[in-house]
Amino acid sequence: MIRVAAVGDIHMGPDSRGVLRPAFETLPDRADLLLLAGDLTRHGTPEEMRVVAEEVADLRVPVIAVLGNHDHQDERPEEVTAVLRDAGVTVLEGGGTVVDVDGTRVGVAGTKGFGGGFAGRSGGEFGEPIMKEFIRYTRRRADGLRASLEELDRRGCAVRIALTHFSPVPDTLAGEPLEIYPFLGSYLLAEAVDSAGADLAVHGHAHAGTEHGLTSGGVRVRNVAQPVIRRAFAVYHLESGTERGTGALAGASR
């Protein structure tokens, strides 16, 4: 069994220094890895990210993160990424990483993702250059996620997790105003997850959404935005493909 802890949208700043540390220090007893689903800061400044880094440094479980839109606000994504990496955090954008959990290879593929909307109600690559770029930007991130999940499969991962900030499905947005769904996620992310296969998709971003969802290909989705899970983190217990006996879920719609 693989124990996955996850939280997003912790929006830390100088006034929240140390707030999550006591809960995070219990992680070695509860989880095999911690996923951070973006919006770790409020304005994306190195100063704010240093608060996050102190919260997660030396936790004795691997910490894997993607950035969120807030972490881009100060337009220094490389700098804030470096702050996290210096604290030992693996930061993903269109890449993957493998964690060995008692001999089981657990792969995490990550991207911030972006918006555009959901199937049948989405923006398209049409018209003004800025509109085309909006959707192309999302498509590039979805393509990176798909390629990373496929690579993790080739690397023999028994469990694969897709980590994003924006949502791959509308299910986990329930509670948000319908009008803003196109700014909360994109079906392109779900399509990438379903075509490459995964055991779990974790995202944040939608504070008023709900925790549970499913892609149309049957991959479970969890919105771990802290206002949604109402705790320092959520923990999900996953069986590996070997334990399931088939691995069918991971390849359900490949």
Binding site: D9, D15, S16, A23, T26, Q73, P227, R230, V235
Partner: protein
């Protein structure tokens, strides 16, 4: 749709500026994003003659800031707030995804 249908004041711009609750809510939303809290997650709605601001923020300081900015921006309009500070405790149980 006409002004009568929507109930909006401000036909011809007479009361369409500072007194228009719809625009004031939009301006409050923009200000919360722009200023120190960078808060995009607040739900701000007009209900009856009041404006309700609700949502979850990371700290009590953020909540105080949101309340202060809301009262400044909506000055004169009654404001009700229902803002929760995020719970930083560890979960009491995991979810089994068999």
């Amino acid at each position: 749709m006409t002004d009568h249908d929507t109930g909006r004041s401000g036909r011809g711009g007479r009361e369409g500026g500072a007194d228009n609750t719809e625009y004031r809510i939009a301006h409050l939303q923009e200000r919360l994003v722009r200023e120190e809290v960078a808060e995009l997650g607040m739900r701000i709605e007009s209900r009856g003659g009041t404006v309700v601001v609700s949502g979850t923020v990371p700290t009590a300081e953020c909540r105080d800031t949101v309340v202060r900015v809301a009262k400044e921006e909506l000055g004169g309009t009654p404001v009700r707030t229902d803002i929760v500070v995020a719970d930083p405790t560890a979960p009491d149980r995991p979810e089994e995804l068999a």
